[in-house]
């Protein structure tokens, strides 16, 4: 594997290998000294052209736990403000000695361009509403930890599918790992043509609420209400929010996932959010573990016992 750019078309064995390594790194993270020398001497550049806190921190935590050095780039404090192009920026950071780039950008496809320009291994840290493959891996790991396997699980992804790179990544990863995925959203938050997607589609949550092993809630961008994508935040909450009442109607062992940041009172109420069946903090921890696995595999690190 040269790059990790997308979950679409990635083989099951590749996903399983990454999840298996992530399991090992999960254990590393829970040692008294949560650090291994696997990537000593390597430099990971986190090139985040779109503001991000948690994903960037998570990648940097993962790199440091593998003893890699980190070059950290943020748009707010950078040469971009002086008018430097994306291409010049990444070539500059390559010239400083980066061995791998994690790229987040508002435009679909930007990480592909960076891979083309730099020739470095690239991890897509989120491109537009397209892909966010490490999110899909951490979500898969969370489901696997809870259920042992994704085989045969029924998973609903609820919310703004249309503008979600999380949904576009998870639908491929979950289905490749054997789960059956249902996408649920109001019509204006569904992509216009889902021909070929490995998922069922519904515009109504309540009739199917009790059928799922996991409910994956997407963040609702409140500003979309202003763009008339749905009538109001209150109406969204009434139809699609994880209210206390809906949480009561789930199967007793159904878990709830969310990519964060959660907006309480819109897509999820505080009761469900703070319930042990809501796995958001486990997801965050798993994020570090899967990103360690990805960096490790792309940079050809060696394990201690090898």
């Amino acid at each position: 594997m040269k790059n990790l750019l997308t979950m679409e078309g990635v083989k099951k064995e590749t996903l399983e290998s990454l999840l298996s390594d992530a399991d090992e790194f999960y254990d590393v993270m829970h040692r008294p000294i949560p650090k291994v020398p696997a990537l000593r001497g390597k430099t990971v550049a986190t090139m985040f052209f779109e503001p991000s806190t948690r994903t960037k921190l998570s990648f940097e935590r993962a790199a440091k736990a593998l003893s890699a050095d980190v070059l950290s780039f943020s748009p707010g404090t950078s040469s971009l403000k002086k008018g430097e192009s994306l291409k010049d920026t990444v070539l500059t950071v390559k010239a400083m000695g980066a061995d791998l780039m994690v790229v987040r950008h508002t435009s679909t496809g930007a990480p592909w361009r960076v891979a083309e320009w730099t020739g470095l291994p690239v991890v897509n840290g989120g491109d537009g509403a397209h892909q966010h493959p490490t999110q899909a891996l951490l979500d898969s790991l969370t489901l696997k930890q809870h259920y042992g396997s994704l085989e045969g699980l029924r998973i609903a992804i609820v919310g703004d599918i249309r503008h979600s790179r999380v949904a576009r990544s998870n639908v491929w990863a979950f289905s490749t790992l054997g789960a059956r995925v249902t996408l649920i959203a109001p019509p204006t938050l569904l992509p216009p043509d889902m021909e070929g997607w490995p998922a069922d589609v519904s515009t109504d949550l309540d009739p199917v609420l009790d059928q799922f092993d996991a409910i994956y809630l997407l963040r609702v961008q409140a500003e979309r209400g202003g763009a008339s994508v749905f009538p109001s935040v209150a109406e969204y909450r009434d139809r699609f929010g994880m209210t206390e009442a809906r949480f009561e109607r789930l199967k007793p062992d159904t878990i709830v996932l969310h990519p964060g940041p959660m907006i309480r009172g819109i897509e999820i109420d505080s009761g469900p959010a703070d319930d042990p069946r809501c796995k958001v903090l486990e997801q965050v921890t798993n994020g570090v573990a899967v990103r360690m696995a990805v960096l490790f595999q792309l940079l050809g690190g060696t394990k201690e016992d090898e």
């Binding site: 435009s107 889902m194 070929g196």
Partner: protein, 430 residues
């Protein structure tokens, strides 16, 4: 007296039919004889296996002058046109400043004459400053030689204003030329809305964004009687609307671009902005409909929408890059490679029909006594896709295999391209 005899070509002349084994004699910039086994006068040029017809005419070129000369100017754009077999090109008015008054149109035409490689024919704006608020100086523009009026790059959104422009120009028989994209439906759109955009997570431009504007404009053309021309048709539904308008007898014409004839939206998956333009690359079924429309005559002509952008503008992440690609040098090869037209139809869609639309009397036909604007084209040779003479290189064709090469372009009796090489012409800075 300079004389040249082109010998033994497949020649498309006067009546629009192709005749084999035909010679064409040019003397002092004029065609003086067309026929078989003519006596050689002056230099003889063997054209066996080649097509010879009127020089190509593009009704949709962005020369970028005045105001954006880092992308292209009239000299560099004229070189690209000549290299592509063109002898005339209509300059789009979305320059800086926009061509909305007579003196600006005269500037463009004058620069074209100074360069002297093709006739550069100015188009004019429909609205002042292309702002869609007030009429441009339509009389001044008309008197400066403008026949095609367009706010290209934008659509005239206000139907009332467009109706008045149509009424005004119908009286003088000017042509309303529209870039048909509804701004609301296309808002934020980066590519064709469909299966690919859904998967790539990009905001789409639905086919309906084009079709509802064409439907509206056809209704207004019916109301006003104006000549109406649709730019860069990209959808199967648009082809149907135009066919219906023609069947009704309205004076409606339409163009297709080489890129919409050549590529579908699957190319967007490369994330390379060389495939980004407006209207966007559509579905494969739309590409098929455009090719069929061109063969059947519903689409009258091919126009390039040659839209240069510098590397520093285009070599970006997709959503940061501007819309538009260049095409003058490869339009003939694309038509020859992907559409499947005969020799006569090739010259009809690339020369005769566009010259007719823009009322360019010196172009579009080969006739004894006419100006020697002509193209010798080798339909079997490989096109040059290794480089460009345009100032910008935003061409999706570079590196492709395309069939058909410009052998000679003759503009007003002088070679601008000879044996595939662009000729230095007095008055043209390099």
């Amino acid at each position: 007296m300079s004389e040249i005899t082109f010998q033994n070509a497949l020649v498309v002349s006067g009546n629009g039919e192709a005749a084999e084994g035909t010679d064409v004699v040019v003397a002092d910039g004029t065609i003086i004889e067309i026929g078989q086994d003519l006596e050689v006068r002056g230099e003889a040029i063997d054209c066996t296996g080649k097509w010879l017809g009127p020089g190509l005419v593009d009704v949709h070129t962005h020369f970028r002058e005045p105001g954006q000369e880092w992308k292209e100017d009239i000299a560099s754009g004229s070189r690209a046109a000549a290299a592509g077999g063109y002898t005339a090109a209509v300059a789009m008015p979305n320059t800086d400043p926009p061509i909305d008054a007579g003196h600006l149109a005269r500037f463009v035409a004058d620069r074209g004459r100074q360069v002297g490689l093709v006739d550069v024919v100015p188009a004019g704006c429909i609205t002042l400053g292309r702002k869609g608020e007030k009429l441009a100086h339509l009389d001044e523009l008309y008197n400066a030689g403008v026949r095609l009026f367009t706010d290209d790059g934008g659509t005239v959104a206000d139907a009332g204003l467009l109706r008045r422009a149509m009424e005004y120009l119908a009286e003088r028989d000017g042509v309303i030329v529209e870039h048909c994209v509804d701004a609301g439906l296309a808002a934020g759109g980066q590519m064709h809305e469909g299966e690919v955009s859904s998967r790539l997570g990009m905001a789409g431009v639905p086919s309906e964004a084009e079709e509802i504007v064409i439907a509206r404009d056809i209704a207004l053309a019916r109301l006003t009687g104006v000549r109406y021309h649709v730019q860069h048709v990209s959808t199967a539904g648009a082809v149907d609307l135009i066919a219906a308008a023609k069947a009704e007898g309205l004076r409606v014409t339409a163009e297709a671009t080489p890129h919409h004839l050549c590529f579908d939206d699957s190319y967007v998956e490369s994330a390379n902005p060389l495939y980004k333009m407006m209207p966007p690359l559509r579905a494969a079924s739309d590409v098929a409909a455009l090719r069929e429309g061109l063969r059947s005559g519903v689409i009258d002509l091919v126009a390039t929408d040659h839209a240069p952008h510098a590397d520093h503008e285009k070599d970006h992440a997709w959503e940061e890059a501007p819309f538009g690609v260049i095409g003058l040098e490869w339009a003939a090869a694309v038509v020859n490679t992907v559409v499947g037209l005969g020799t006569a139809e090739f010259f009809r869609v690339l020369s005769t029909a566009p010259a007719g639309l823009a009322e360019l009397g010196d172009h579009g036909t080969l006739e004894v006594g006419g100006t020697a604007n002509l193209l010798v084209f080798d339909p079997e040779a490989a096109a040059n896709t290794s480089s460009t003479v345009s100032r910008s290189s935003n061409a999706p064709y570079l590196g492709m295999e395309l069939r058909g090469a410009v052998v000679h372009t003759m503009y007003r009796g002088r070679f601008t391209v000879r044996s595939g090489s662009l000729q230095a012409v007095a008055g043209v800075a390099g």
